[in-house]
Amino acid sequence: MLIDSLTVPQSEFEAGTGWRLKPQGACKGDVCIPITDRPTGSGPDMMVDVASLANQLSLPLVSDDAAGVWALGPDSFGTRTLMTAESPNLMLPDLDGNQFELSSLRGQKVLLVAWSPY
């Protein structure tokens, strides 16, 4: 996920990384990792410290100083891209910029195809 600040709303962190912050730690599927930092603030404005969480969850945090942005990469605990067979919720725009959520197709079988014009 791309960020221009190292403090982001909890919801943004969770949507971007797939890790949910729960009382028992940061969780993805059945896996929970204890964390020492808790979100600060309250309600929908709870903020998290990305650098600290990246360190605790071994997520790579790389920056482009000139552009003033960071990219927070994925976890690699499981040695495989998928930690569980539960599908991640891909959210992307269509040709006209309308956002589409893969999860909107629950109830149907889906063939998800990656292609490119190059």
Binding site: M1, L2, G18, S58, L59, P60, L61, V62, S63, D64, A66, A67, V69, A71, L72, G73, P74, D75, S76, G78, T79, R80, T81, L82, M83, T84, A85, E86, S87, P88, L90, L92, P93, D94, L95, D96, G97, F100, L102, S103, L105, R106, G107, Q108, K109, V110, L111, L112, V113, A114, W115, S116, P117, Y118
Partner: protein, 248 residues
Amino acid sequence: MWQALRTELNPAGLEIVTVALETSGAEACRPFIEAADPDHPTLIDQHHRMAELFGVVNIPNGVWIDENGSIIRPAEPAPAPPSIERPAANPFAGVEPPKHLTDIMSEAVKIQTSGPQYESALRDWVANGPASRFALSPDEVVARSQPRNAEAARGQAHFELAAHLEQLGRHVDAIPHYREAHRLVPDNFSYKRQAWSLEPSGGELTGPVSRFWQGPLEGESAEWPYAGDWLTEVRDMGAENYYPTWRP
């Protein structure tokens, strides 16, 4: 490309979603999508988010997901059905193509795919669901998904920065991050194809075919910003190994 299969299998409960891994964005994809005139969702993935989430390392790739959102087969080569007219399908009618491109085409024809097997497996799963012999267990889905170590994860973050800078029009600033992505995730061929395809093509090519040059211009090897290029890497690996063999 996939529309005919979608028309056939949608009544039986299958939806197809195509995702264009294309940092340049929607306009580079539009001619292909409009030519295919699909009924199914067609998404644009400028940061190769699908690669990061699902372990796609080359294109085309497919992932099967069931009615409950469980992955049934992780990312694997998914040859596009050979039905469609691509725009500029024969840009060289009556003209001698540049040698670099004929060299690429002579490698490309050696690439092996398993389209008919893949399509019949898909039909079997749509008909039989979990009872299909092509439906994998959750453990097998995880085990067959692409390996990812800490270096690869870091490389994916660099690719995302490169894609971001590209979209800001800062191509030159993006190159070091593409290079890091290539170094750290060497088995991700779409990261390479993406970056190579954004460099100038030779032979006065225009239109979609110019994206396939993916290498230094004649006599300008020193200016090429990447460690590899399509023709050299495919010759080194052997075109027949371009895609892993499809396993039922």
